[in-house]
Amino acid sequence: MSDILPVGEVAEAVVAWINETFGWLLDWITMALDMLISGFQDGMAAIPPLILIVILAVLAWVLTRRNLKIGLLTLFGLIFIYLLDLWPETVLTLALVLTSTFVTLAIAIPLGILASRYVSVNTALRPLLDLMQTMPSFVYLIPAVIFFGLGNVPGMIATIIFAMPPAIRLTNLGIRQVPIELIEVSEAFGATEWQKLIKVQLPVALPTIMAGVNQCIMLALSMTVIAAMIGAAGLGLNVLIGIQRVDIGGGFEAGLCIVIIAIILDRITQNVISSGPDK
């Protein structure tokens, strides 16, 4: 640390103060996220792998409105992973990615809605989002580690922050792009603000919002290896170990599993609604 400018000392003091004052909140967040992940993970681990794989494949098929290709892709992709003997790691990675995505969306979609309705929220958010999107993903590890230590939870926190901007932006954009006549329809027929949002704006904006969900999941997956650096487990950790020990085979296998999961999740989110109304 520099002797001339006490920047480091100040930072330490601030962090200490925050830890002291908001310690209870940080603990609470840690606990809640921990519960979410372990609940998800334990739930999936309780089911025998092959049965779970079939269930997931059927789920993918149903979610994409009976898209057989995506159902089969899921089935064979997951069986491949199972045969690589990386199933427990995959379950953990899925748990991390999906819970992170869930939390991200729970924050991002309401924020996006607010930004679409209030100019002030929009103007306040825009520079923040610009900043977040230009920042290298490693930067998010610093506050995560400082406030949450090492492990799965700080990995998730970094992931959540990193994956947030596109979901906010696309929700905001989707709602703003709803044609003016449709807004006029809801007003002319006497809809309340809430009815307008629920029955017109969100459903019409859904394809755009889903694009945001898709990006959110992809960003969360891209963070798995980076989050492993601060102690998050799962496939990312295997890749990281592969790098550290120059274990090409092990690293490659885990990396391949991440790619397979990415492809499956991408196809599913892209097809959940786009094959919707127009028969």
């Binding site: 002319a188 006497g190 029955k199 459903p203 019409v204």
Partner: protein, 406 residues
């Protein structure tokens, strides 16, 4: 105009607009003062940068009337229509619906009025893409928190009314423009609103479909006795649909009256320019305003064929002419029906004294002829061959086109 107002005082006033002004811009107050001083739109814009869309308009719409707001693009029709259900907030003035002032109404009351009294139909159809026809039509009822069963029943009735039965489960993207607008119409009818606001509702449709929709609207209105305020920039359409027509120009109403009033007593400069400017309408002759005679009926044709042609082309009379195209007369739909019923040849019901004009008859002289007759006027060449025909709408539309080109 005096006369017509007196004649109509026994009708119920459904919508009453008084001194309605709408100014677009951030500082309407100053502009409003200038409007009250009688300054022109252009002057006010130069002085204050505020756009005066409507200036101190007053008129009444009667119950069961089909009232057309007509005028060139940008004259303020859509703004006026949206002030009536307050989708656009008026700057000043009064809009009364069944005697209640919309402008000062609380949000809650306003919502209630919009839900139960006013339906709206849009140029772009404005259907929700993620909903089926049935769900779209039930939209207004759903907003009122009506139970699913009840709203489906009402929606089905409305769908039936506009002739879309069988398409309940289709999505809007799978329907033609005409069908989509029927859905829009059904949506407005489903909530039993007695006022329909229609903004260029048929302007996006093909001419043939458009004519069908106009006919159906007239028929529906006669059956359901709705009060309809219909915005159009098309004179043909206005003359065909309007019980009364308000001609707008630059945010004011230049003249209100029936189609006949506009044709015979153009009391405003806007219409006057078409009709009275001798030079303009002298240069305009039958040839310029006539339409092609659609199908001609061969003289030996039977009543069934005549009726089929009328139905196919959506018209109520046919000119009779042989292969030589020599004009013989005209058969009306009533005549053809009678001939069919009594099994007599069409010749016996043919109208032979319907007015005819020559290709170069000036528009000026057409006007009184058009006003007198209930039939379309045949346009003949000097030999007596039929070249075209003129109906009221095409004459005024021809004049309007000329105005736009000048």
């Amino acid at each position: 105009m005096e006369e017509t107002q007196e004649e109509e005082t026994d009708k119920n006033i459904k919508v009453s607009v008084r001194n309605l002004t709408k100014i677009f811009g951030k500082h309407p107050d100053e502009a409003l003062r200038l409007v009250e001083q009688g300054k022109k739109k252009q002057e006010i814009f130069e002085e204050t940068q505020q756009n005066v869309a409507l200036r101190s308009l007053s008129f009444d719409v009667y119950e069961g009337e089909l009232f057309v707001l007509m005028g060139l693009s940008g004259c303020g029709k859509s703004t006026l229509l949206r002030c009536i259900n307050r989708l656009i907030e008026p700057t000043s003035g009064v809009v009364e619906i069944d005697g209640a002032n919309i402008v000062t109404m609380s949000e809650d009351k306003l919502r209630q009025v919009r839900r139960t009294k006013i339906g709206m139909i849009f140029q772009s159809f404005a259907l929700l893409p993620h909903r089926t026809v049935l769900e779209n039509v039930g939209f207004g009822l759903e907003i009122q928190d009506m139970s699913v069963a009840e709203r489906e029943e009402k929606a089905r009735e409305a769908i039936d009314l506009v002739g879309l039965s069988g398409y309940e489960e289709s999505y809007p993207s799978g329907l033609s423009g005409g069908m989509q607008q029927r859905v829009g119409l059904a949506r407005a009818l489903a909530s039993d609103a007695d006022i329909l606001l229609m903004d260029e509702a048929f302007s996006a449709l093909d001419p043939m479909i458009r004519r069908d929709m106009q006919d159906e609207l007239i028929e529906l209105q006669a059956r359901l006795n709705k009060t309809i305020i219909f915005v159009s920039h098309d004179l043909d359409e206005a003359l065909k649909l309007g019980d009364r027509i308000a001609l707008m120009k630059d945010g004011v109403i230049a003249q209100i009256g029936t189609a006949e009033d506009l044709l015979q007593n153009p009391s405003c400069d806007y219409v006057e320019r078409f009709v009275e400017d001798v030079n303009l309408s002298r240069v305009l002759v039958s040839k310029d305003v006539m339409k092609r005679p659609e199908p001609l009926l061969p003289p030996d044709s039977g009543p069934r064929n005549a009726l089929r042609l009328m139905e196919e082309y959506g018209i109520s009379s046919l000119f009779v002419a042989g292969k030589d195209r020599m004009f013989r007369g005209l058969v009306t739909v009533d005549g053809a029906v009678e001939a069919k019923k009594r099994e007599i040849p069409l010749r016996d019901v043919m109208v032979t004294d319907s007015p005819t004009v020559l290709l170069d008859t000036p528009a000026q002289e057409l006007m009184p002829i058009m006003a007198e007759t209930a039939y379309p006027v045949a346009v003949l060449d000097t030999e007596g061959r039929i070249k075209g025909f003129i109906v009221r709408g095409s004459l005024l539309a021809g004049l309007a086109r000329l105005e736009i080109e000048v």
